[in-house]
Symmetry: C2
Amino acid sequence: MARKFVCNQNEPVVQTKAGKLRGFQLDSTYIFHGVKYADAKRFQQPTPVQPWEGIKNALAYGYVCPMLGQDQPNNELMVPHRYWPLDENCQYLNIWTQSLDPNAKKPVLVWLHGGGFAAGSSIEHIAYEGENMSKYGDVVVVSLNHRLNILGYLDLSPFGEKYKNSGNAGNADMVAALQWIHDNIENFGGDPENVTLFGQSGGGMKVWTLMQTPAADGLFHKGVVQSGCIDGFMNQPKEADGTAIVTALMKALRIKDVEKLETIPYHRLAEAYNKVAPKVAKTGAYIGGNPLPNDWYVGDPCVVGFTEHAKTIPVMVGTVLGEFSFMPALPAEDKANKELIDQKIAKRYGDAAEELKALFAKAYPDKDISDVLFVDSVFRAPTIKFVAEKSKHPESGTYSYMMTYTFPYDGGHIAWHCSEIPFVFHNANLVAAYNEEGVTDLLEKRMCDAWVNFARTGKPSSEDLPDWPACVPGDEATMIFDKDCEVRHNYDHELVALHKKAAPPFWVRSDDDEEQQIQH
Amino acid sequence: MARKFVCNQNEPVVQTKAGKLRGFQLDSTYIFHGVKYADAKRFQQPTPVQPWEGIKNALAYGYVCPMLGQDQPNNELMVPHRYWPLDENCQYLNIWTQSLDPNAKKPVLVWLHGGGFAAGSSIEHIAYEGENMSKYGDVVVVSLNHRLNILGYLDLSPFGEKYKNSGNAGNADMVAALQWIHDNIENFGGDPENVTLFGQSGGGMKVWTLMQTPAADGLFHKGVVQSGCIDGFMNQPKEADGTAIVTALMKALRIKDVEKLETIPYHRLAEAYNKVAPKVAKTGAYIGGNPLPNDWYVGDPCVVGFTEHAKTIPVMVGTVLGEFSFMPALPAEDKANKELIDQKIAKRYGDAAEELKALFAKAYPDKDISDVLFVDSVFRAPTIKFVAEKSKHPESGTYSYMMTYTFPYDGGHIAWHCSEIPFVFHNANLVAAYNEEGVTDLLEKRMCDAWVNFARTGKPSSEDLPDWPACVPGDEATMIFDKDCEVRHNYDHELVALHKKAAPPFWVRSDDDEEQQIQH
């Protein structure tokens, strides 16, 4: 059926501080794509966009930051991608809203994409589209691109004052976006005093790094960390700086003047970096790629503690059961073969196998025991720690969740990294493998309700969910999102502690893939 | 609402000549993405894929051929894009079908994408998605990637026998895809003896170049050329060969052994080509980029005549009213200012202005006279010629159409290049700017009906359209697709003939854009 569409010379047009923008209306939603929120020279801090006369179009998504390597098409049913033209001039955001009334003051949700701090974009996953969430939740949804990898996170500070915060340029872009939102979102129907960051994987890390960034204080008010606490990922050495990696880069590029790094084509910079970074990393030196603790960014709250401001931020934090278990599911006949499953579990977990099985069965009595092969602790263990640390500050709520839904894909697949995103965005209709009659619609409603309610009030409770209390020290009250939802208390701590000790890292698990019939 | 989704270890799985493929089912449609139909070494002819054991996934679109330059986000409401990872290993096709019964024998429609022979992909436009057309029309829809630009169309034949047909490698990929379809489509519910090619812009040119390619005889049975006859585009000099351009390329790359061109990274090849090609082109020599008439490809039918086999192919051919008029629409107040419009028309068309206005008003009595500023003849003039030549062979039907619909975008925008595609694919729901209550649904039904009926029977007539006769010499019966549809006879020939003489080329028209309020 034909939808309502409006995009004429003067409608919908919104006044921003720098000038007028034209978007389009689709049914009840006003949509603005590719709004430039800042400009930036390579390795330098972002600056406000220059004012313009007349009306600028905001009808096309903006450039995405270039990557260090090219993606390969893969696992599209599990994580359906969108790619986009690349350019380091990438400070763009997108807006979906139900109102352009400056007095509407609707909650604002700002999506920070995943891909570590090295890859991804505001539109990389098909389900990052904000229309359905805005419409269903009557909220303003914003998503944004920013500088990534060595463009966003390479410390050149030892080489000149103008590079002072180059190690955090990508995060500085995000702060500039938040400033733009603070200054302009009212005219898009949003409340600049009620801004919630939500992000997944790298995006979740962005949420908590921005909580620890004084320059962002007051620009946002709540945070959702989805699969964003990750063991061994953000371990920039203390007192790290870019001397070693930048020196190696310049040598590889036969460059003597550091300023030349500002202008050489990115693909050459990336090629040289890919060559020298592994060697520099082996020495233990900093190689960039993630935010760098310095005067501007305080550092990991589980290491240095939460800032006074971060303590006041209500947070929702959680993971999914399988996380990096992207491998094919076990065939039904294998799952039914108890002996085979026992062998696999013993092979993977050695002496801990029997105890892990018992702990898994206790934590997840309704799941197939073979799922213990795919359960995650890389994300879950640091999430438990984050919740414990954050809940010491009861001045703001800390809410925990876990998604354990078994997807109707591949004969039944444990929830994988990114798999909660379409539910959160109310976008299950956009992703084939997330559709199960009698389940999808309710789970999508429950999850989107929780996110929207948290953004609106600081509490994720909803009429369709059991009572969801905040965590307190010693009691992690965790909302389990599945066919049925329930709150459980410290329910998997023993399992996760033992799994973390006994499990090989997820990246060596692919041995077992060869046994699968399906070739990926 | 949750959709029906199936993708399990053994369903849906289809046997092909080389091995088993697993796709997925969404509601009633079986979908296979990224099916490898051939392999090819650079500059050489495609070869069949190697057989495999077990089951291969067909769940992710395949690589897209690399381009000579990077796209910029632009005009997304008019032509909504999808980009994808690039690699010259790009011989992939996609299938949407309602049945996997080898006896179902449903009509097969094979989509050839646009972008000249240099760019684009089987998924570049959001509306290239085949699900809705397959479901609505109960047909098998196939789309495909193939080699492009200098990977698909660079003649190295003077440098060695193994490069004999390198000037048509991209078209040879398409023939390999048609062979794959011929050999395998039955198991996807399709009829290998009823295959219709349809393509737009470069894709339309692909249709008629394949009609003129004996190696493809019998592999397809009908063709639809959408905006695929273009003045001045396919003018490879007679007896052209690659001596000059390949010599210049090797010199620029400091390569003495031509075989080195087979292995150097594509981005360096493209960089060198972009540098030397304009200079070689100035000498009038061949620079590649389009199919090359040779022993394998007969050449433009309007120059060399239709092959005996091509004469037997029913063809539907047409254009849209504005084609390359992507510039902003005139504001309503400008359109209402008769004096201003007259000035603009006089400025553009000089002495021919008054006569053109009269001819336009006669051809399009219901359109605003300002549309004469944006009307196309670059595509329409050679289309008239193509129809005249093809209809000399009444053993197969030749059907003409023109889409004149004024879109509800920008205050009312003349139909632009690519704008018919979402209607043909029954995908108006995927593209915002194509939605107008009371119009979209019927126009989409009428156009998709025509394409599907033509594929099924060789005649595009449908219950919802006026009687649509084939063209005969001297009588171009043209179906006008608009809010109302009607058949008209030679209705615009005078207009187009004069416009072709009087109009400046479309690429210099942007002068006027500066007068527009909207900045693109």
